[in-house]
Every structure is written in C-alpha cells, then in structure tokens.
Amino acid sequence: MNAFDTPKLEYFELSPLLVVFGVALVGVLVEAFAPRERRYLLQTAVTVLGTVGALVMTVLVARDLKEYDGARGAIAAMGAIAVDGPSVFVWGLLLVLSLLSALLFAERQLDGGVTAFAGQAAALPGTEAERQASSQGLEHTEVFPLLMFSVGGMMLFAASNDLVTMFVALEVFSLPLYLLCGLARRRRLLSQEAALKYFMLGAFSSGFFLYGVALVYGYAGATDFAAISQAVSGRVGGEGLLLGGIALLAVGLLFKIGAVPFHSWTPDVYQGAPTAVTGFMAACTKIAAFGALLRLFYVGFGGAREDWTPMIWAVAIATMVVGSLFALVQSDIKRMLAYSSIAHAGFVLVGFVGLYSGGPDSVQISSLQAVLFYLVTYGFMTVGAFGIVTLVRDAGGEANHLSRWAGLGKEAPLVAAVMSFFLLGMAGIPLTSGFTGKWAVFTSAAQGGAVPLVVIAVVLSAVAAFFYLRVIVQMYFADPVGEGPTIAMPSVLTAVVIAVGFAATLLLGIVPGPILDLAGNAGSFIR
C-alpha cells in the first residue's frame, strides 16, 4: 500500500476563486429563498459586492506572492492551480471587467424597466406564456449567479496548472455562457439559435481539447504542466502523441479565442446573444482563453516551440485576414464587432507567437507583458463599445443594423463621440489604448524575430481601421434613414460602464506606463 498524502489547500492564495464561487452559490440561494420582487436588488448587490470582495482578495494575494523558483507565486491545490503573477493579473482584469459586465446585466432602464434578459426562458417566443411572463415583469435574475460561475471558471482557466483542471475550468465557464446566450428578451429566436450554435461548436471543440489532453497525458505520463514541460524538453519518443496533443489542445483553446479557422461561431453568437452578455463574452472569454493559452504553451510546451510556432503563425495570419476582411462587409454592428474581435485575437496571437521573454534585467517588453497589456486595453474597449450598442435602440429593441446608426452624430453627439473613440481605439489610433496595445504586441513579436508577421499585422490593421471608420462615417457623415435611431437614456449603471471603458481607453492611451509595469511585474509563469 502506498503512502497516502493528505491533500492540502492554500486557502489564502485561492481566496479570490473561493470568493467568486461562494458568491455564485449565494446567488443561487438568493434565487431559491428571496421573494421574487427583491431578487433583482439582492442579486445585483451580491454580485457587485462579491466581485469587489474577490478583487480585494486578488490584490492582497498579489501583494503577498512569495518567491518561487525564480518567479513569484505559489503552486496551490496539489499542483492543480498556479497562483503566480500572470494569474493574479488576469484575475484582477477579469474581475474588473466582470464587474462592469454585471452592471450591464443589471441595467433595466433601457427597455422600459426590465432587464435585457428573457422573462421566462422556457416560455416559447410569441406565445401567450411569454407575453404573460413579460407583462408580469418576470425576469431571470439567475443571470447573476451564472455570470459569477462563468467568471470563476475563467479565473480558474487562466490559472490552471494541469490539463484536467484546465478542462474542467473550460467547461465551468462555458456552460453558463451557453445558457446566457439564449436569454435575450428581444429577438428570442436569434438568441436561442445563438445559444445552440455556441453550445454545439463549443462542445465539439472541447471534445478536441479533451482528446488532446488524453494524447499529451499519454506522451508525458502526467497532466500537470511541470511534468509535461519536463517530458517535452526530454523528448523521449512519442513525437506523434505530443504533436497531435498540442494540435488538438490548440484547437480547443483557439476556439475559445475565436481564432480562424475556429471562429465561425463568433459572429452568430455575438449577434444573437443579449448585448450585455456579448460584451462580457467578447472581453472575458478572450482574456481567460489567452491566459490559458499563454500558460499552456509557454510553460507546458515551451520546449516544443519549434513545433508549434509555425502553426500559430499560420493561425495568426489567417485570423487577422479573415477578421479584417469579413468585418468590411458586415451590416450589423454586433457582427462587425465580432469580426473585429476575431481580428484582435489575431493581433494578440502575433504578440503571443513572438515568444520573447526579455533578458533577466532588461526593461524590454516581453511577450507575456505585451499580451496581458493588450488584453487589458481590448477588454475595456470592448465592454465599453458593447455598452454603447445597448443604448442605440428603436421600437424593436436594439437597433443593430448599421444603417440605423446613420446620423447618430447629430442625434446624440456624446454617444457618437464616445463610440467613435472606442472605434478609433480598436483601430489603433494613437492617444487611445488600442494604439499602445498594438504597439506592445507588435514590438514583442518583432523582438522575438517575427518581423514578417508584424508587417502583415500592420498592413491588416490598416484594413481593420477601414471598417471601424465605416461606422464613424455612418454616424457622422450619413443622413438618417427614416425615423432614425433613438438613444435610450441609460441608468447610472450603463453610464458607469461606458465611462469607465472610455476613461480606461483614454488613460491607457496616454499613460499606459503603470499598467504596463504591472503587467511586467507580473513576472513569469511558475511551474
């Protein structure tokens, strides 16, 4: 009989995760026991307070990270989770963005006093039951616990230090998202279809991921990254298993990132999902997935970089090309933003593939730092932009067709101006965070020797700029068609989200230093 180690958990290091999941559970309990009319307020309060609490814990953990094997951090939960600089950074980012998303979720002033979520998901669209549900003011306050579960899963995903944890986390954050996608109050059919597609393709991709886990396990004999890394560096036979495993794992992760050729879900899902959910998904999923991608490929497969770099090169190029070109012909703002997010994924991949770690005490920008920083800039811009999308409405709910945005600059100068700012940011114009972000990833890639890739990326970001401009042109230089859109007066919730997004985009464009340094200080991964 083997000795049996009693497992132990590092409660302090894991506290942000525990808080988030705890809050999610509290949310479920609130759902179960609080009277219906008080649920909305309670849920909002619980979610916001919980997120803030988790954020505080994250900061505390970040300040207290100990030296570990040349970097700072700790391996927690029997090697399942790595709480290191990048993890904590991503946690903080995810929490802030999910806080903003939660505010968007809670907005109920835009649509006549109800949230953007279906009154009763089970009621069939267009039936008496649905009408009643909406007339009674029913609402799914379950979206808050779902949000929290998803956030928890994302945090775990980015910090997972072995493949099993990663797989479980992948599902933990995906499953609530699938549901959230199908909960739009308006355009239920679209929303349900989005949920179905997202689910089908998501499940498909996680199947690939899992088979990759199996193959890598077969190769390395273990699922934790340290052992994988060791096996990969040692290169003891079984090449096929390793390469197949890497490829399949990459499929799973690239799907979540929305990289070509695994992007086909993105536009449909972004368009169909409730806009608040889209914003959350666009920002946070990508961040979490990139966190995991970085960790898996840098830590686990760092020794096999020659094998996977060409693949990522190709994917990055394809992603940028498809994202930029297809966005050109979109006529729906959410679809356009979806393709834009694909293009952004391509840009981040450029930074990712640079694989530049910086010298021991150089101040040069490392790939990790660049990618993390880009994610920050991207996250805030995206949440802010989707926040604005919720404001532009007509009789049938949100007016997402681009032609409906015509003349917005005259109708609502402030909204149009802020939206333009976000769009310019996404296009990477200086004085916005989009520029500093792009600069960071391109630089790190160039340092890693991926100069041709950088050149391609630069050219494509010019193409990308064009479709952002189209929206600006539409808003400012085109005359409204028919009635023209109306701008719903947002409550303070959405206003805060947009304001924060705007401020972050501006500040990170002008003084990105602190956040860059923070990302730099995050140090490197531990294993």
């Binding site: 010298g359 150089s362 114009i429 600069w439 003084v511």
Partner: protein, 517 residues
C-alpha cells in the same frame, strides 16, 4: 527647471479647442474665442522664437520626462531651426485661417464651434509633431493629427467630402501603420544596441543608429519614408490630396496642405536622414527621381485640371517635389532651401487656397470654365490672387523665389541632371498659374460672374499678414535662414554628407554676424 514653453504652446490650443466646444452654439462667441486662443498661441510661439538661440546647434527649449518606460518612450519636446520655423508657420496660419473661415462652417453638417475646435486641436497636435524629439511621441502626434483633419474634411465641405475624408484617412493610416512597423523595429534595434534598454529619444538614437546593420537600417528607413511620402504627397501616393483639397473648405485645405503635409517633409529630414544616414544615401537616387517626377507630373497635371482647388493641389504636389529634392540632395543649399520652401509654400499656397475659396464661394462653382473677367468686378480679389499665384511660381522678390533658388542650386551641386529636369517644373509653374489667371480673371465678364462682390475687410484682413510675410521674406529671408542653418548643419553632420564645394551657403556668414550682435 525653466518654463515649459513648448508644452504651453502645445496645450493652449488643445485647451482652447475644449473651451470652444463648450461654448454656446449660437452667435459668434465660439469663433471669437477660437481666434483669441489662436492669437495667444501665436504670441506664445513668438515668445518661443525669441528665446531661440540661433547660434546653438541641436535642440533648444527641451523638456524631457520619462513617459512609458517599458516602451522607452519619453515626453520630450524641443525645437531646432526647422522645427521652430514650422511651429511658427502653424501659429501664423491658424489665426489667418480662422479669420478667413469665419462663416465657412455655418453651412456644415455640424456646429460652427466644432469646426473651430477641430482647427485648434489640429494646431496643438501639429505643434506637438514639430516639436517632439522622441520618435514615439512624434508618432503619437503624427497619427493623432489625422483625427481632426478627418473630421474637418468630412464634416465641412463639398458634396463628396465623405469619400475624400475616408480616402485621405486610409492613405494616411496605411502610411502611418507602415511607419509603425518601423517604429517598432526601431525599438527592437535600440534595445539591442543599447544593451537591453530601449529608447526613443532622438538624442540617444543618433549615436545608436550608426551601428545598425545596413539591411535593417534600410528597411526601417523605408517604413518611415513611405509614411512621409504619403504625407507630403509624392507621386505615386499623392492621389488623396486633390480629392481632399477639392472637397474641403478653403481653410481646411490650407491647414492640410500648408501645415499637415509639411509633417512629411519635416519627418524626412528629422527621421529619415538623421536616423538612417546610410539608408538615406542608399535611397537618394530613387528619391530624387521620384521628386523630379513629382515636380513634373504635378505641374503637367495641374495644367490639365478643370477645378481650381484641384489645380492648386497639384501645384502643391509639384512644390513638394522641390522640397524633397532639396532635402535629398544632401547639401546645405538644398536643405536650407527646402526648409525655407516649406515655410514659404505654406504662405503662398495659403493665400491661393483662401482667395480662390472666396471666389468659389461667391460664384458657387469651382470649375475654371465658369469664371471669366473677375478682375473687372473684383479687382482686389484678382490682385491678391495674382500675388499669390506669382509667389507660387517663385517670382523673384517674393519669398518662394529664395527657397526655390536655393533648392535648385543644391540640386545643381549634387547632380545637374536633376536640376535640369526640375527647371522644367518652374516653367510649368509659370504656365499653370498664368493660364489659370488668364482663364478666370481676364477676359469678358460672364453673366454669372457679374454679381460677384469684391473682398470685404475681414477677408482682406485675413490675407494681409500672409501677403506681407511673402513680400517681407522675399526681400529679407535672413532671419529664417539664420534659424534654419544650424539645424541643417547638424543634419548634414549626422548624415555624414559634406558640401562638395566650399560652403557658399548664404546662411552661414550672416548667422555668425547675428550671433555677434
């Protein structure tokens, strides 16, 4: 630490822009404020100029603060002679444009205030461009200028302004992003050469870039050069300019051609030449050829134009050919001439655009064929137009003559073939200016032209300073040359070029005298 003059000059218009935006929409208070701010900025720039020591080489009035350490970027401002001249040009032109465009924006899509606010914002950013001595900072300003001008073109002007604005932006963005690739490359190189500490500060980069490998240097140079070539519209990437000039309001056109496009030629001197001397020398033949082609092509096409603003735009293409020619001949005559040319071209083209703008606004058409005999009904207008035109074709006694002469000298010194071809440009200039004058101003008064009023006092007042300067510097260019020469010398040292013959640079001796005084 001394007072941050340049920062003040940069911030004042930007603050002004915000203030103007916040002004009440009705009445003229907004534009009055805008004028006030621009005049103040002008005053500030004069103050800067007064503190500028023409005897010193290198950047003056510098302010350096670490900005983004991870990027190696600094908030670093400073001007040398070239920069100062262009800053001055900017601050002179903006109040003129504001006065001249007093009512232009009333018919635009948006409020008049927005128009003036954008102008002020543009002014601030342009000052930033001309005074930044950090590549990153420069790039930020460089790209940021696109936004105000984009809205100025797209928001106020002719029927196809949207198209023109987008075309302009796409060209500029493409160029800018190509430059971004080079900026990124510069970072990588600087970090490599500087032992892991990247820097964008020009003063740090100058020594570092001497060691950059030949091929890398050439690639980086190309990135910068393409961006600047787009900006200073050189054939074959000039096609955005005629459209933009055609559709924009005259004021916008002035800002675009007289100020913004100078960023291109300014950038060539400051970045292409100074940072990548080897590559610059390597590229010289091609660049010079392109420059000559620009000169000739711009001139020829200008003759064929039917629309007045397009014609002026093409003359600018031709003029920019001269400027680039002067820059890349790599001797002091050429470069001093070029820098001077930038200033003078700003003035003369400004006059042309504004005065034809008045004309077009009165007639309601910009086709040359729609005019005729204007000088009979509006003699003042025709007179000013003539002066502007003559200055544009470099009539001796008017300021552009000096610069064009210097550029030609430089070209001759470098390789007389270029000069020979460039001379044809001068001939063409005479042709297109005089032809235009003849077709529009002389001849019988067409019925449509008959009701045209002559210029009123505001309009004349707007143009008067420009005319005065044209004439003044036509006879007495020394102050400018004094300012420019040290900068040119620095550049040439950096490039490693020497004047082939004993210096006959007209600037050298007087500059020394000035210093003694």
């Amino acid at each position: 630490m001394s007072f941050p003059w340049l920062t003040a000059a940069l911030l004042l218009p930007i603050v002004g822009s915000i203030v103007v935006m916040a002004m009440p929409k009705h009445g003229t208070i907004g534009r009055q404020a805008a004028l006030g701010f621009s005049v103040l900025t002008f005053a500030l720039s004069i103050a800067v100029a007064l503190q500028f020591d023409t005897g010193e080489k290198g950047y003056q009035l510098t302010e350096t603060h670490a900005w983004i350490s991870a990027f190696g970027a600094h908030y670093a401002l400073g001007v040398d002679g070239t920069g100062l001249v262009l800053v001055l040009l900017t601050t002179i032109l903006v109040p003129v444009v504001i006065v001249a465009s007093w009512r232009d924006a009333d018919v635009g899509r948006w409020s008049t205030n927005a128009f003036f606010a954008w102008i002020l914002a543009l002014e601030g950013l342009a000052i930033g461009v001309f005074s930044s001595v950090d590549v990153f900072l420069f790039y930020v300003f460089f790209e940021a200028t696109l936004i105000p001008i984009y809205f100025l073109i797209g928001g106020y002007g002719g029927p196809r302004r949207t198209y023109a604005a987008v075309k302009f932006l796409i060209f500029s963005l493409l160029g800018g992003l190509v430059m971004l690739a080079s900026v990124v490359g510069l970072y990588v190189q600087s970090a490599k050469l500087n032992g892991g500490t990247p820097t964008y500060l020009l003063s740090d980069l100058h020594p570092l870039m001497q060691d950059v490998s030949t091929s890398t240097g050439r690639w980086l140079f190309l990135g910068f050069f393409i961006a600047f070539a787009v900006k200073a519209p050189m054939v074959p990437v000039h096609t955005w300019l005629p459209d933009a000039a055609d559709e924009a309001t005259p004021g916008t056109s002035v800002l675009l051609v007289s100020i913004l496009d100078k960023i291109g030629t300014f950038g060539m001197i400051r970045f292409c030449l100074e940072l990548f001397p080897e590559a610059s020398r390597w590229a010289t033949p091609v660049v010079l050829t392109l420059a000559v082609i620009s000169v000739l092509y711009g001139g020829l096409v200008a003759i064929a134009q039917k629309s007045i603003p397009r014609l002026i735009a093409y003359t600018s293409v031709s003029h920019f050919g001269f400027i680039v020619l002067g820059i890349f001949v790599m001797n002091s005559q050429g470069q001093v001439g070029s820098t001077l040319y930038m200033f003078n071209h700003g003035l003369s083209t400004g006059v042309l655009f504004l005065v034809t703008g008045y004309l077009i606004a009165r007639r309601g058409s910009r086709q040359i064929q729609d005019f005729g005999g204007v000088q009979k009904v509006a003699p003042v207008l025709a007179g000013i137009f003539l002066v502007g035109g003559l200055s544009s074709l470099s009539l001796p006694g008017l300021s552009p003559f000096v610069s064009e002469f210097l550029v030609m000298t430089g070209a001759f010194v470098h390789n007389w073939w270029y000069a020979v071809f460039a001379v044809f440009g001068i001939v063409l200039a005479a042709l297109y200016i005089l032809l235009m004058y003849q077709r529009t101003m002389t001849g019988p008064v067409t019925p449509a032209v008959a009701p045209i009023r002559d210029l009123d006092r505001r309009e004349v007042a707007a143009l008067a300073p420009l005319l005065a300067l044209i004439v003044f510097f036509g006879f007495f260019p020394k102050p400018l040359i004094d300012v420019i020469s040290p900068a040119v010398e620095t550049t040439l040292t950096q490039v490693g070029a020497h004047d082939p013959s004993p210096a006959v640079s007209p600037g050298d001796v007087p500059a020394a005298e000035e210093a003694h005084e």
